[in-house]
């Protein structure tokens, strides 16, 4: 009887079943709250042609930047990819397909994917290139764009604490896209800073209930800072 113990002890196990051409939803905003170890592990695996859904594409040599380096990503769905030189190059040469999506729409597409809502209307992007080819509909005299949900074969998220049943708590702005990503994966893997026993997390303060999480792995995190800004003394 395995019950609800979701803990796995190796990245191999954590990423078992990840195959060529799959869609992988990855939590994080910039380098904040990204599943560092899971991403790094994919670089060592023989998988390619991935579609990655993530607000950003990491930076050169860190985060999803690693998988751009190894050319394992075929397509990026993201809202902002400006931090990445390699990305720029692959995008310009046409090696990388890119679907730029407004940040709020991207977040909502993931939420909708996890929530069984195949499409929703938003004013975001109306009258812009983002709305091209999409249905426009008027509600109360205002125009809205129909956006479709996103799901993935895998979702890789980073949490602060997990219990063995996969209940997750995120920390500060390292939460960002992780809760929605967790709901939108067919297999959701959470890389976390700490794993505790069931009952140790306050049931009133759990951000992601364990039902969304298939595997939990304890990671170690570099937590690289993109823009160190300090108060002037």
């Amino acid at each position: 009887m395995v019950g609800f113990n979701k803990v796995v002890n190796s990245y191999d196990e954590a990423l078992k079943g990840l195959k060529n051409n799959m869609t992988v939803i990855v939590g994080g905003f910039g380098l904040c709250g990204i599943p560092e170890g899971l991403i790094a592990r994919i670089q060592t695996m023989d998988v390619s042609g991935l579609t990655c859904v993530s607000n950003n594409a990491g930076v050169d040599g860190f985060g999803l930047g690693l998988l751009l380096e190894s050319k394992q990503i075929k397509k990026m769905i993201a809202s902002y990819v400006g931090e990445n030189g390699l990305f720029e190059e692959q995008f310009l040469t046409g090696e990388l397909e890119v679907e730029l999506t407004p940040q709020g729409t991207l977040a909502e597409k993931m939420r909708a994917g996890g929530a069984g809502i195949p499409g929703f209307y938003t004013a975001t992007g109306y009258g812009t290139p983002v709305a091209e080819g999409k249905e426009i509909r008027s509600f109360g005299g205002k125009s809205y764009v129909l956006e479709e949900s996103i799901t993935g074969e895998f979702a890789l998220v980073k949490a602060w604490k997990a219990d063995t049943m996969g209940n997750l708590i995120f920390r500060k702005t390292a939460m960002n896209f992780n809760p929605m990503a967790a709901t939108a994966g067919k297999v959701t893997v959470a890389e976390v800073e700490e794993i505790v026993e069931p009952g140790e997390l306050d049931p009133n303060a759990i951000h992601t209930p364990g039902i969304y999480v298939n595997r939990v792995i304890k990671g170690t995190f570099e937590k690289r800072i993109e823009q160190l800004t300090l108060a002037s003394a």
């Binding site: 607000n55 709020g104 975001t124 800004t229």
Partner: protein
């Protein structure tokens, strides 16, 4: 000489009201936080999931898990809250943020804004800008009135791909404070030392100029 960056931020800060929830974009808008009048309180929203953004941290207080939408390390004020990106944009899209301040390449007299893409140059992405302009209750654009060649960026119709349609109501440029009503720019204030003629000459869009255009009040006396 039009307004400097800090003066643009000062002028924008005069539009803040007590109890406002405000989202400040990257660049000049971020500086607005430095000029919040002493007699009011505002809460800053950062679209990556923070309501109640504080100042930059001291070296001891740097926390990689606490950044703003510009990926800068920040702090959180008393009464702050953290939430997911979906919840953050629900807040933005749902019109709960009172004011958004952001930069632009171009604005036009119908309130449309272009701020994210220059075709032919690399596209870095729109980030949250499209959601912010579509959702905020009020939007102030800060920008230079004309480009380096002197060509107007205050247009009849934006030429660059849009960020949003018909959403901008207020523009603080280096030369003027304008509002957009009924498909026209309305000149309300001119930057110190800037003539109405210069503003007219650098505004391609229809500009309504009242008989008297006061000079902006800047500096320590805010209102």
């Amino acid at each position: 000489m039009g307004l400097r960056r800090d003066q643009l931020a000062m002028r924008v800060a005069q539009e803040l009201k007590d109890g406002y929830y405000v989202n400040l974009g990257i660049g000049i808008p971020t500086l607005v936080a430095n000029y919040v009048p002493d007699d009011i309180e505002v809460m800053l929203q950062s679209e990556n999931g923070l309501l109640g953004m504080g100042e930059f941290p001291s070296e001891e207080n740097v926390d990689p898990d606490l950044i703003n939408a510009g990926k800068q390390t920040v702090t959180a004020v008393m009464g702050a809250s953290f939430f997911s990106s979906a919840d953050s944009f629900a807040m933005i899209r749902g019109g709960h943020v009172d004011l958004t301040v952001l930069g632009a390449f171009e604005v036009d007299q119908n309130g449309s804004i272009a701020s994210w893409m220059v075709p032919g140059k690399l596209v870095k992405g729109m980030g949250g800008a499209m959601d912010l302009v579509a959702g905020a209750r009020d939007i102030i654009v800060t920008m230079t009135h004309a480009n380096k060649k002197g060509e107007s960026k205050v247009l009849k119709e934006c030429t660059l791909p849009l960020t949003g349609v018909g959403c901008i109501k207020k523009v603080v440029s280096d030369l003027a404070y304008m509002e957009i009503h009924d498909g026209k720019f309305h000149l309300f204030e001119r930057a110190p030392g800037i003539s109405v003629e210069e503003i007219i000459s650098k505004t391609e869009g229809d500009l309504i100029v009242p008989e008297y255009v006061p000079e902006m009040k800047l500096g320590s006396i805010m209102r």
